[in-house]
Amino acid sequence: VSIFDDQKELDRRGFLHCMAWVGTAAVWTLSGGVLKGTPIEQVARGAAAKGRMPAGLRFVQISDSHIGFDKPANPDVTETLRAAIAKINGASEPPAFVLHTGDLTHLSKPAEFDTLQQILTELKVPVFYVPGEHDVLEDDGKSYLERFGKSTKGAGWHSFDHSGVHFIGLVNVVNLKAGGLGSLGAEQLAWLERDVKRLKSSTPIVVFAHIPLWSIYPEWGWGTDDSAQALSYLKRFGSVSVLNGHIHQVMQKVEGHITFHTAMSTAFPQPAPGMAPSPGPMKVEANRLKKVLGIARVSFHDVRHPIAVTDVALEESGQAMAIG
């Protein structure tokens, strides 16, 4: 009991620190490899002072929609996904496209994939996918690949260029080893090395994958065994942003010139690292659910300038507000 008492304050602080980004809107900018967090109202004021922000590349990341999940943590995941889509469609400046960073479905069932596909047709823009471990539960991911990975390689990895930015979708949820973390595998790593070889070092890179490509909490499997190898191929690039899902909460890290960011889920929250007996779905009060679910808006105002990631909850709490 005394040990618990001694650690209570520390745990509380750690927990609040982690939770501070859940259900809160903030803007992160990457400048010269240094991440700066800015309260969103300040950004809004700055933008108002300068007039409208210049047009640039805008896209949205959604993650962990878990269609088919029906447990107490969220009995209606299609409704919350629809709320996320309404958020995206309601933006004053629409995104160029949407990235879904995996766990589209809960049980990889064809009916779940169909439901997800149908809901996402409400989006007016293209969607690019990578699978989560819940999308490849049966048939080695064939159901996923038939629907969402037609022009991809291997288990669904792919890359594309948009507005001068090179996007790379990686798959780290197949062929996982007992006792291990997420895994990219030799074949995908070799592909990645070839994929970026032709690019100038000034090309901004955005990597998206389901399980975090940085070690957040290995005790809960929140990391990728061979991510260091993948990131070594990206060292020479001046701007690298890594977008992940899987942990159903917002986390940030900067390592050199690489910025890591995880997005909220649209389905259910998960506890902060070590703050619960396991990383299972976290039930919150019903009126708080939409404050801990959300999307991430990402923008490049100019490819030579920093990217900004804005985490937007389905329902904002308190004074925080979203910018379109």
Binding site: R12, F15, L16, M19, A20, G23, K71, P72, A73, H106, L107, S108, E133, H134, L137, E138, L176, K177, A178, G179, G180, L181, P218, E219, W220, G221, P271, M275, A276, P277, S278, P279, G280, P281, M282, V284, E285, R288, S317, G318
Partner: protein, 122 residues
Amino acid sequence: MMMKRVYLASVAVVLVAATVLLARSPSVSANAQRQAAAAPGVNDVKIDNFSFGPGTLSVAAGTTVTWTNRDDITHNVVSTDGVFKSKVVDTDENFSYTFAKPGTFSYFCSIHPKMIGKIVVQ
């Protein structure tokens, strides 16, 4: 204030989890006693909080082992050496496998590979 509520909620979750663990401990020891007898029959592995319990289960050859998922999230049971593989085991579902021959059979959840366990068949 909101953060305070979050903290209180998390304490409540931890307390509930602790209570559940304490409440379950008698059944765990009952299982252990059954295992000690090592009689052929059904033996149980519970999946709770992203772990297999007991982590190592000793049984006699011919025993059918049943895994039951008590988490609010999907798991599976996959032999490390390809001997057996369950389909998805959702909440309150189970998977059974009969171990005909002696040996040590390591397994894991291929969805959450940090979850590992072992069946020792004598």
